[in-house]
Point group: C2
Chain length 200, copies 2
């Protein structure tokens, strides 16, 4: 398309929208048109919400969750104090909350160890975790990390660092997903599910 | 998920992102996390670009295309003056420009006639079209409207209104899409392609 067809203000908006996950160059154009048709209802409020959230939403100094208050609503809430669930990212915290799978508190690492990507222990919120794990009321650390190479590397590293502390370290079980057909599962999952089989 | 897990500023941002086409509630959360991690590079600039485009980008008073200058770069550019291509929306204009399918000027209707949705002739930019069709240099009006019921209703309505003017009215041909397998095409398209078959 000749550069002149779309003006610079509109092109810049499209380029920025196209950077968002879930939107490509074409859907960014559709989104831009959608927004221009709804300037009062969506476009203006979205500009304000982006600016407002960028200024106000910060990582909780206690647990690393993102909120506009510190400590965040989750860290400060009425939750089981004895269990601390370690997650990679705020998105994982939200997923566990959506499932109602964890009633205790969280600790967000912010990343996983990844030597290939140059991400080392200093890039993760590990100091805070060790300090919290040492609190008297904490009896169990659940490592809810992804079942990937980086996730498991990080889990091993954390387990080593938590060994000196009198606290139980657990991890999520691996196996057949609920609703999962055996036929469609990879060999690793099937082998893990067989190895850790339980009495009916 | 308990309402308290996500703070109000972040929730408002997620709700607004979820309104965009191509993003649902889950991908809006992912997009919000993505943006919060890139406040300087993407989130701030996007907030500014939205605000800036909302203020500056207007419909061209000549052709209806969206641009920050009026007449817009397309209406004002060096283009074939004799052919006027009528499209429903700015997105269709962009699609034709991307294809390089039309070297003339455009006229954006802004909507299609849709009695069921209460969209009548007054909601379309028809007055402007009739005026432009009457200009001496214009010899052909191409109706590049969708091959839907509303698109064809609008095409018939426009043809009736342009009859009094000494201008040729054409429409896009219908048939097998380039690269299209006959097996996957609907009966209507196949019938139309057969009816309008051409010598090889």
């Amino acid at each position: 398309m000749p550069a002149a067809t779309i003006g610079p203000e509109l092109q810049r908006l499209i380029d920025l929208l196209a950077k968002m996950p879930g939107l490509g160059p074409r859907s960014a154009k559709r989104a831009a048109l959608y927004l221009l048709k709804r300037r009062e209802q969506v476009m203006g409020p979205l500009a304000f919400a982006l600016d407002d959230a960028a200024k106000k939403v910060k990582a909780c100094t206690t647990c690393g969750n993102w909120d506009s208050i510190d400590p965040c609503a989750v860290a400060d809430g009425e939750r089981t104090q004895s269990i601390l669930c370690v997650v990679q990212d705020v998105g994982d915290l939200w997923a566990l909350e959506r499932a109602g799978a964890h009633k205790g508190r969280y600790h967000v690492l912010g990343a996983l160890l990844s030597p290939l990507d140059g991400i080392g222990p200093d890039d993760l919120n590990i100091g805070g975790l060790v300090a919290r794990a040492g609190e008297d009321m904490v009896t169990e650390i659940v490592l809810a990390l992804p079942a990937t190479v980086d996730g498991q590397t990080t889990a091993h590293y954390l387990t080593d660092h938590l060994e000196a502390i009198d606290v139980g370290v657990t991890r999520l079980s691996q196996g057949v997903p609920v609703g999962g057909e055996l036929d469609y599962l990879d060999e690793g999952t099937l082998t893990a599910a067989m190895k850790t089989r339980r009495p009916f």
